[in-house]
C-alpha cells in the first residue's frame, strides 16, 4: 500500500508546480496513467505517418513533396521522443509497440480516416495539427518532466506543420474552381473528427479529473476544444472556408463560439475499429514491424560478433 503521507507529499510537490522526474517516488497509478497516455500519444504520431505518407509520392510540386516528407519524418521523430520519455517510466519501447500492434493499446482515431485527395493533406495540417498543437502546448507544462520536455521539443518543431497546411489550403481556396471544391470538401470531412480529437465531453471522460489533479493535463477536454473552435472560426473566415456546422454562433455572454452537437456515434464507431482505414493502418504497421525483424536481428548479430572479435583481440 502506498501510505497517505507519501501521497500527500507527492500532491504537495505537484501543487507547488514542481516537475516529477523518473527516479522520484510517484503513485503507481500516476505511473500507469502516464504510460497509457504517453504511449498512446507516441503510437498516434507513428500511425499518423500513414495517412499523410499516402500523398508523398503524389504531391503536386517538388516543394510540396519536400514539405510533406519533412513533416511526416517529424512525426517519426516525435513518436521517438515520446517513446523515449515513456521508457523513463521503466517500460521498453518494444513492449509498448507490441501493445498497440497486437494488444488493446489505442492511438488517436483521427488517423483511421482516409486521405482521399491532396486537399486532405492541407486540411490535416490545418485542423488536425492545429488541434494537436493546442493539446501539446498544454502538455509542455505537464507535471512529468520527460513528458513535458518532449512536448516542448515537439511544439517547437511542429509550428511549421500547421502553417504549411493552412498556407496551401488558403492557396486552394483562392485557386481554380476545382481546387476550391476540393479544399471545401476536405474541410467538411475533417472538421468534426478534429473536434473529436480532444476526447469525450468532460462528463464522459473518466480519466480527466485524476489527470488534472496530478497536472498531467492542465485543462479539460471541453476547455481545449472550445479554445480550438474559437481560433479555427477566425482562421476559416480569413481564408474563405466554411465550417460545416450551421449552429456555429458567437455567444456574447461567454465570449466564445457555440457549436453544434458532435456526432459521437461516429466517434465511438471509429474507436471500435470501424473507421474506413482502421484495418489497413494496423495491417501496415504490423507489416513494417514484421518485415523489419530480420533487419533488427542482423544488426544485433553483427554487434555481438564484433564484440566477440574485440574481446578475442584484447
Amino acid at each position: 500500500m502506498e501510505n497517505q503521507e507519501k501521497l500527500d507529499e507527492f500532491q504537495a510537490r505537484i501543487d507547488a508546480g514542481e516537475k516529477i522526474e523518473p527516479k522520484d517516488w510517484m503513485p503507481e497509478r500516476y505511473r500507469q496513467q502516464l504510460i497509457r497516455m504517453m504511449s498512446q500519444h507516441a503510437h498516434s504520431e507513428i500511425v499518423g505517418m500513414l495517412p499523410e505518407g499516402n500523398w508523398i509520392e503524389r504531391a503536386p510540386s517538388l516543394k510540396r513533396k519536400l514539405v510533406l516528407l519533412a513533416k511526416v519524418q517529424d512525426e517519426a521523430g516525435h513518436g521517438l521522443y515520446l517513446y523515449s520519455a515513456t521508457e523513463t517510466l521503466g517500460i521498453d519501447r518494444s513492449e509498448l509497440v507490441d501493445q498497440y500492434l497486437y494488444g488493446s493499446a489505442k492511438y488517436s482515431s483521427i488517423f483511421n480516416y482516409p486521405t482521399m485527395t491532396y486537399a486532405d493533406i492541407c486540411a490535416i495540417g490545418w485542423l488536425v495539427d492545429g488541434a494537436a498543437i493546442v493539446n501539446q502546448t498544454m502538455l509542455a507544462r505537464s507535471s512529468y518532466g520527460p513528458y513535458s520536455r518532449a512536448n516542448v521539443r515537439i511544439c517547437k518543431e511542429e509550428s511549421f506543420h500547421k502553417k504549411q497546411g493552412y498556407e496551401m489550403l488558403a492557396k486552394m481556396a483562392d485557386g481554380t474552381p476545382e481546387q476550391q471544391k476540393m479544399a471545401q470538401d476536405s474541410v467538411n470531412r475533417w472538421w468534426w473528427p478534429s473536434l473529436m480529437m480532444f476526447g469525450p465531453h468532460d462528463s464522459d471522460s473518466p480519466n480527466s479529473a485524476e489527470l488534472i489533479k496530478w497536472q498531467v493535463k492542465l485543462k479539460t477536454n471541453d476547455e481545449l476544444r472550445q479554445h480550438f473552435v474559437d481560433r479555427m472560426v477566425m482562421e476559416a473566415e480569413a481564408i474563405g472556408m466554411e465550417l460545416p456546422d450551421p449552429d456555429l454562433e458567437y455567444n456574447e455572454e461567454t465570449g466564445h463560439w457555440d457549436f453544434g452537437d458532435i456526432p459521437w456515434d461516429e466517434f465511438w464507431n471509429v474507436v471500435k475499429g470501424n473507421g474506413v482505414m482502421n484495418r489497413k493502418r494496423i495491417k501496415d504497421r504490423r507489416a513494417a514491424h514484421e518485415n523489419g525483424e530480420w533487419v533488427r536481428e542482423a544488426a544485433n548479430a553483427y554487434a555481438r560478433k564484433k564484440k566477440l572479435q574485440q574481446e578475442k583481440a584484447s
Binding site: L50, I56, S61, L66, V295
Partner: protein, 261 residues
Amino acid sequence: MTTETKELTKQEAFLAYLLRLADDRLILGQRMSEWCGHGPQLEEDLAMANMALDLIGHATALYEYAAEIEDEGHDEDYFAYFRDDREFTNLQLCELPKGDFGFTIARQFLFSAFSYFQYERLKDANDEQFAGMMNKHLKEIKYHLRHSREWVLRLGDGTEESHERIQESFDELWMYIGELFYMDEVDEFMIKEGLGVDSSEFKKEWKKLVEDTLTEATLTVPDWDQFMMSGSRKGIHTEHLGHLLAQMQFLRRSYPDAEWK
C-alpha cells in the same frame, strides 16, 4: 545508322547533363520516400526520410539550374511533372522498385559510392554556381555513403538470412551498374569544357570501395564482366518507370492550370 550527329551546343550539353544528374536523384528519392512510415525500425524511418529529402532536394536544385540554362521560362516542376518516360534520363538502377530493406540499402550504397567520386570532381567544375551546388550536396552524399556502407556490413555479416538477402540484392542489381560509367557526346563535351567528369578516371577507386566493402561484409562480389544493361541516358527504361511517373505526376497533370507551390 545513317543520321548525322548534330553538333551539340554548350547549352544543350549542359542542360542534358544537369537533367541526368537531377533525374537520378528525383527517381531514387521517390523510391526512398516510399519507405516513409514502413521502415524496419523507427530510427531507420528517420534516416531513410533524411536521405529521400536530400535526394529530392538535390534534384530540385539541379532542375532549377537546368531551367535557368534552358532559358525557356520553365521551372523545376516542369522537368519533374511534365516530361514523359522517354524524356527521363535517370539510370535504370534508380527506378527499380524499392524491394526489401537490403535491396534499398545495396542500391543506395552503390549509387552513393558513385556519387561520392563524381561529386568530389564536379565540385571543381568550371562554373561557380554548379560547382558550389556540387560541393554543398557532397557533404550529404558522404553521409549517405557512410550510412548505407555500415548497413551493408551489418546485413552481410549479420545473420544467415540477412546475408542471403543482401547477397541476392547485389546479384540482382549488378547488371544495372554498368550504366554508371556510360559516357557519350554529352559527357565528352562537358569534360572538354571543364564542366563534366570523366568517370573512367575513378572507376578503379569505385570498384575497390565496392569490393572492399562487400568482402568485409563477407559477401561475394558478383562478376564484373557479366552482361550490363544500357540505354537509360537515351531514355530507355524498365516498365517500372512509367508506373512511378504515373503516380508522381497524376495530380499535377490533372490540374495543370492550378497553382500547387
